[in-house]
């Protein structure tokens, strides 16, 4: 995998991610919806944290704030010791591109690109030549048991589980220190969902890397190191997985 230059080094002994009293409100006046009402949380290196809770409780808003996709209203939030509020929009985009990987609920692979090209997109964004980037992507996908035919297929020719594996490869190809996943298994059947989570633990987690996974899929909670339960814009409980079936 490629390490992009200018990656931020997390301060030693510090959590990768730390939030305190984070709030976020959509809209104004009577139409205002308070999505986050003072969230406190920490994510450590090498940890897989799951954000669980009912729909509308603020999980996606929280990871959007953590990933710098949405500005928070109040509170403190530092990612690798950096605060988005101290960055310009351009710096935030660059920071996000280098240090954070994304896995989206609907995979969101670009339909006109092959699996290997989709996986290579973050490297291309960072200026790598297409041929070089796809060579790296090919290696990553090979590790994920993709054969040549699958690698050169368009997303429409892949199953849901295969598409999500491409999305995972895309999220980690540039070795970001934080990967955020929004409902990565919601579009998959139980078996595929488990395989995807196994892959994520195997490939995406690392000594200096953390995963934050938003889910309301109770079947995958066992893959978490910690589970943050959310309700009405707050983290109401942080717990260990109920029953650890997954053995790395």
């Amino acid at each position: 995998m490629m390490k992009i230059s200018a990656q931020i080094a997390n301060p030693p002994g510090q959590p990768l991610l730390r939030c305190h009293g984070v709030t976020k409100t959509y809209g104004q006046g009577n139409a205002a919806v308070q999505a986050l009402r003072g969230v406190d949380m920490e994510v450590n290196a090498g940890e897989l944290l799951m954000l669980a809770g009912p729909s509308g409780c603020g999980k996606t808003t929280l990871i959007s704030v953590l990933a710098g996709l949405l500005p928070r209203d109040e509170g403190d939030c530092s990612v690798f010791g950096q605060d988005y509020k101290q960055m310009s929009p351009g710096e935030t985009t660059q920071f996000r591109g280098i240090n954070i990987g994304f896995v989206f609920q609907a995979f969101d692979l670009i339909p006109a690109l092959t699996a290997v090209e989709n996986a290579a997109v973050p490297l291309i964004i960072h200026g790598m030549k297409l041929r070089e980037a796809t060579t790296h992507a090919r290696k990553v996908l090979q590790e994920m048991d993709f054969d040549d035919r699958m690698m050169d297929s368009l997303p429409a020719g892949l199953s849901g589980g295969q598409q999500q594996r491409v999305a995972i490869a895309r999220a980690m190809i540039h070795t970001p220190q934080l990967i955020v996943c929004d409902e990565p298994t919601s579009a998959l059947d139980s078996e595929s969902g488990r395989k995807v989570m196994e892959l994520m633990r195997r490939f995406a987690l690392g000594e200096n890397r953390a995963l934050v996974v938003v889910t309301h899929d109770e079947r995958i909670l066992e893959f978490a190191d910690r589970i943050a339960r959310m309700e009405d814009g707050r983290i109401i409980q942080i717990e260990k997985p109920p029953e650890v079936n997954y053995v790395p």
């Binding site: 996606t60 996709l69 949405l70 994304f102 989206f104 609920q105 609907a106 090209e117 291309i124 964004i125």
Partner: protein
């Protein structure tokens, strides 16, 4: 990123073809309209173009084009011949007359009276004949001048010049050598048919000698419309024109300048220019509408993917370059296709005698229209991409 952008574009074939169609259509229509206009303008100075060794045209000081003329005194010919640097000079008479055919029908024609001695200015005559056929009394050489079916005579001799009736519905045939026509109650005989350059506006032409023209046209104080002079070797036409102007008080223009004057006069006074501009405007508007809407729809449908790219670190400049590349590719392909279609259509139009001339400015105009459309379409499409918030498109928001 450019490769990704182009793959995204070509991946959505319907919209890609829609954008391409819009741009091709615009490029074609603008280039075609400009070429058609170029063809019309070229035909407007056909009389000048078909004159051999026509270095300087001398005319009334108020004349600004070959299409709007005023006669000058016949003595002008001698005065021009007396100017130093003139090798030769011939008179040219232009007039509009109404020709009556043997069945009683009539047709306005342009009478062109050329120098009796040299017969300069008569275009090539068909059937292996020469301009010398005009030396027979009352001879004329006819030419369709870009028209068709306007120079016909009754097929049956019985229907020609019948006494006491006008057989306007009698079957006709094209005029041939030996047929007779009446102009101002003067009978003239068709001595041949020429292959002159088509005129704009199109009208039948009737070439004859200056003296015959004087005889068959209604009497006027002055009959000479132009004096066409040839410069001596080493005398530049523009220089000679200045000299003639100074010495005769008439307007004198080199052939090149007179062509330009004629085109300028046409552009200023002709309604056809307005029609061409209207056609160009409609072409640009239609092309703009189709292209901009398709491009906007394409970008809008791909907004989710632009959001994903933005989330993954693509900067506004990168997204801008992607959409610009998409517009540029469509623009390039559309311009090329439009130009190709225009050339093919032009060849077909030329075959059927329509004015079409693909001049240097026509593809430039087509290209400029395409650039304008692409820039505006891209600008309309880019705006929402640069304004979007990637989080809006995540998790089905």
């Amino acid at each position: 990123m450019i490769t990704i952008a182009l793959r995204m574009l070509s991946g959505d074939r319907t919209k890609y073809l829609g954008v391409l169609f819009g741009i091709t259509f615009t490029s074609f229509l603008v280039t075609f309209a400009a070429s058609y206009f170029g063809g019309m303008m070229t035909r407007s100075f056909a009389l000048i173009a078909e004159y051999p060794r026509n270095d300087v045209w001398v005319m009334d000081p108020a004349v600004r084009g070959v299409e709007s003329t005023m006669n000058i005194p016949d003595s002008a010919l001698s005065r021009v011949r007396g100017v130093a640097g003139v090798q030769s000079a011939v008179p040219l008479a232009l007039a509009t007359a109404t020709v009556r055919f043997p069945d009683g029908r009539f047709q306005p024609v342009q009478v062109i009276g050329v120098d009796d001695a040299t017969l300069t200015g008569v275009p090539p005559v068909a059937d292996g004949l020469t301009a010398a056929v005009l030396r027979t009394p009352n001879a004329v050489v006819i030419d369709p001048g870009g028209t068709s079916g306007k120079l016909e005579t009754p097929r049956l001799p019985a229907d020609q010049w019948p006494y006491g009736r006008v057989p306007v519905n009698a079957p006709t045939r094209p005029l041939v050598r030996g047929d007779e026509l009446s102009i101002n109650d003067h009978l003239v005989r068709v001595a041949g048919q020429s292959k002159a350059l088509p005129r704009f506006p199109p009208r039948p032409l009737l070439f004859t000698t200056f003296s015959t023209a004087e005889r068959i046209l209604p009497p006027e104080r002055d009959r000479t419309t132009f004096v066409v002079a040839t410069a001596r070797p080493n005398v530049k036409p523009a220089e000679l024109a200045k000299r003639i102007e100074q010495e005769t008080g008439l307007r004198a223009r080199s052939a090149k300048d007179f062509r330009a004057d004629t085109v300028h006069w046409m552009m200023v006074t002709s309604e056809d220019v307005g029609d061409a501009v209207t056609m160009l405007s409609i072409a640009i508007l239609v092309g703009f509408g189709v292209t901009a809407v398709m491009m906007y729809l394409f970008t809008n449908e791909n907004m989710k993917y632009y959001a994903v790219l933005s989330a993954m670190g693509a900067t506004g400049r990168q997204l801008f370059s992607m959409i610009t590349a998409q517009a540029a590719l469509c623009g390039l392909l559309g311009t090329g296709l439009g130009l190709g279609v225009c050339t093919l259509a032009g060849l077909a139009f030329l075959h059927y005698g329509f004015p079409f001339r693909l001049m240097w400015f026509a593809p430039l105009l087509g290209g400029a229209a395409v650039v304008l459309i692409c820039v505006v379409s891209a600008a309309i499409s880019i705006r929402p991409v640069l304004k979007m918030h990637p989080a809006t498109f995540l998790a089905g928001r």
